[in-house]
Amino acid sequence: MEPRLYIDKHVELVERCKQGERKAQYELYKLYSKSMMNVCMRVVNHNGEAEDVLQEAFLDAFSNLHSFRGQSTFGAWLKQIVVNKAINHLRQRKMQLVDIEGYGSGDNDTDIANEESLDEEGIQMDVERIRRGIEQLPEGYRIVLSLYLFEGYDHEEIGEILGISESTSRTQYMRGKKKLLEMIKH
């Protein structure tokens, strides 16, 4: 995520796509479709909708490739489009992202204080259980956790993407994580 100066290995492929070469577009699609599909899934949590979002995002990426000027890697650029599309999709689904502030509002401060008593070190980590646990989290938690843990955004960036404050993102993350750990503990 840092603005590092390294050579994007797909520069040449991207250039060919800019020329509208269908084969190059397919190559890029093959390279990124799986990881981007999983980004979509973690946000929208629905297979069919995730594919719709994915398709839309690739179409946008290909038609706006000329605006990609190599300031980040192609993957990072594409992911931004995917994440924004997915979030917009949820918005259209009438989910109100502001509402996540309301989740678990009864147990806010004590909640965070209690987290220390939750013995994270003692919890057995397991890919499948974490994955399923995240799927079952309330939408707001799921999105913050996914963007933070998986997509490498920090709370400032998540705040901007979701239109919430940085500290709300932080709080949501802490609560979401606590909930998740409780789920996988049992």
Binding site: C17, Y29, S63, N64, N88, E116, I161, G163, T168, L181
Partner: protein, 226 residues
């Protein structure tokens, strides 16, 4: 993501005690097993559905698409219907600009019936130029629309930006007017294309500036709220 460089790390809001212990194990685990979490695959026919919607290569070298979107992903809730509308408006403009440039090439050819070499060159490559010009003008129109939308709250700023753009636009129009009577058409066309590229660069810079102002304002309001 690209704003990292300007970030300040002295945010007052932190969870001092539990960040280290709580953060690390789960985060570390996810990071170390990142690949294993990606269990979903897009269905096999997604590419064929997608490629049907991609523009035909023959019609244009830079793909142009009927879903013009926000080229600045940070913007968040983009109004897609706005862009669809813009696109519909643009459709005839692209056609018109292709026709215009080809027409100009034809007129130029007619005017210089004396078969000189530069005219030959200009007419043989005029389709390439026409393509380039139409792509650039399309891009400029899209970016301008975006600029207009993003500066809705700040008309003064838009005006300021528009002045700079109009200057380039004027010199473009001068070049275009000059084209039919100029014996060295290729040079003029190249200058026109160069001018369009400058317009795009300028628009990109302006959009960048707006983006930066916006994210700064966002931070300011966010910080005030917390």
């Amino acid at each position: 993501m690209r704003r990292r460089a300007s970030k300040t790390y002295d945010k007052p809001f932190t969870f001092p005690q539990n960040t280290n212990t709580m953060k690390d194990k789960l985060q570390r685990f996810v990071r170390d097993n990142r690949e294993a979490f990606d269990v979903h695959e897009p269905s096999d026919d997604l590419w064929s559905r997608l490629s049907e919607k991609l523009p035909q290569i023959e019609s244009s070298t830079i793909s142009e698409e009927n879903t013009i979107t926000n080229t600045t992903p940070q913007k968040g809730g983009s109004d897609s219907s706005f862009f669809t509308k813009t696109w519909k408006n643009l459709n005839w403009r692209i056609a018109a600009s292709i026709a215009l440039v080809m027409g100009l090439g034809w007129i130029g050819y007619k005017v210089n019936q004396t078969p000189s070499i530069p005219t030959e060159v200009a007419s043989s490559t005029s389709t390439d130029y026409a393509k380039q010009v139409s792509q650039y003008t399309h891009l400029i129109d899209t970016k301008r629309a975006e600029l207009r939308q993003m500066t809705q709250s700040d008309p003064a700023l838009y005006k300021e930006f528009a002045v700079e753009l109009d200057e380039l636009e004027r010199s473009y129009q001068n070049l275009k007017a000059d084209l039919p009577k100029n014996p060295n058409q290729e040079t003029v066309i190249q200058a026109m294309i160069q001018n369009l590229q400058w317009q795009i660069d300028l628009l990109n810079q302006q959009l960048d500036i707006i983006q930066r102002i916006k994210s700064k304002n966002n931070h300011a309001t966010n910080n005030k709220l917390t």
